[in-house]
Amino acid sequence: MDADTSRALLSRAIARVANRDSDALKYVYRHTSAKLFGVCLRILNDREEAEDVLQDVYLNVWNKADRFDPEKASPITWLVAMARNRSIDKLRSRGSRVMAGVEEAEAVPDAAPLASAVVEADEDRQRLDGCLDQLDPKHAGAVRTAFFEGVTYDALAQMIGVPLGTMKSWIRRSLLSLRLCLEA
């Protein structure tokens, strides 16, 4: 199945979820749960917490599927953004365990290699990569680390080993450059 078809099927399933169709939610779950669980686990690095967040994400899809607008976002982007946001909120709420084993998270086995086939249109990704490549490599690295770890400026500065003010400046400048580049 090509990416456009799976995207269209997923959008349609989400529209059916808005009508309280639990089979449609099951379809969404079957096709996205491995991907979203990977996202939650990458940030939380704790299976139990990641599953709690994942459960929350699908309950939220169940209750708010009508807010999904296929004109504004791809379905997987909408779902991944929701999973990231909830994982980051969860990470903030637990406080002290923030820095727990980055290596461990990276060693997560690739149990569902095909799940990423549904993911974002390659075009968007290539565009982003092109814009990231124009940044100072250190800054681009900080942006990627921030995205994957979901940690605060403070924790990010410690991880990368630069002062907090420097990290803020790197990230803000990078975002401003990315905005210009991505808008172009």
Binding site: A18, S33, V39, Q55, K72, A81, S116, E120
Partner: protein, 240 residues
């Protein structure tokens, strides 16, 4: 080197991007989340960043969650159902029997054919003591509310079918008589019917041709009496 650049001023701070990237602390995230709910332009900026940055997630490998997770979710949604529309006796008291029956029939029709509520299914076959209008979400064309006009008591009954609001916003009902400004008819609950007496000069044909609209407003309603939010639903009794 770039490290020595002056800090980015607050005014240029790409806050929506920082939120999406995930570098804000808990308090800042909470503040941003309430801005998303209150400021459509800010919400759009967040959406913009989400669409641009989320493709990075394709690098994250999928991992199967436990087999027990789906049954858990299925169980939780099994107990969930649409808000009960009929359990608020107070709202219904005083409304003529015909209006209630007609509203019931129209809601039943909506529930049966939720994807395509065809007006022909809902329209009364003959002149009836009450009339029903679907107040639809302009984005999806799905009914958000059913409005029932009860001529016997000059009452408008609004029954939510699928009305959702952005977080922190509440639905306010407006009536816009032909060629005139919108008049607020007050706030609506999203999960229970509400009966609203029609303003005196709008009884009869006036209410029939007026547009009914719901906008999202801050709790308590639009502060100046003029709608500030987006139109979430609109419709009228008269067929156009």
């Amino acid at each position: 080197m770039t490290d020595a650049l002056p800090p980015v001023s607050d005014e240029d701070r790409p806050l929506a991007g920082e939120y999406v990237l995930g570098v804000l602390d808990a308090a800042e995230r909470a503040a941003v989340q309430s801005r998303i709910a209150a400021e459509p332009s800010f919400a759009r900026a967040v959406e913009w960043w989400e669409n641009r940055l989320t493709p990075l997630a394709s690098d994250i490998r999928g991992v199967e969650p436990s087999a027990g997770l789906w049954p858990r979710i299925a169980n939780l949604i099994g107990g969930a159902s649409k808000p009960t529309l009929w359990n608020n006796a107070r709202v219904w008291r005083g409304v003529s029997v015909g209006a209630v029956a007609l509203a019931a029939a129209s809601v039943a029709a909506l529930v049966l054919t939720p994807r395509a509520p065809s007006p022909s299914v809902i329209a009364p076959a003959a002149p009836a003591p009450a009339e029903v209008a679907l107040i639809k979400d302009p984005g999806t064309n799905q009914a958000a509310l059913v409005a029932t006009l009860d001529h016997a008591t000059d009452t408008l009954i609004l029954t939510p079918v699928a009305m959702t609001m952005p977080e922190g916003r509440e639905p306010e009902l407006w009536i816009i008589p032909e060629g005139q400004k919108a008049i607020s008819l007050g706030m609506l609950p999203t999960d229970a019917p509400r009966a609203i007496p029609l303003p005196k000069d709008l009884r009869g044909a006036g209410a029939y041709t007026a547009l009914l609209a719901v906008t999202d407003e801050p709790p308590g309603g639009a502060p100046t009496g003029v709608a500030t939010g987006s139109v979430r639903a609109a419709g009228k009794f008269a067929k156009t």
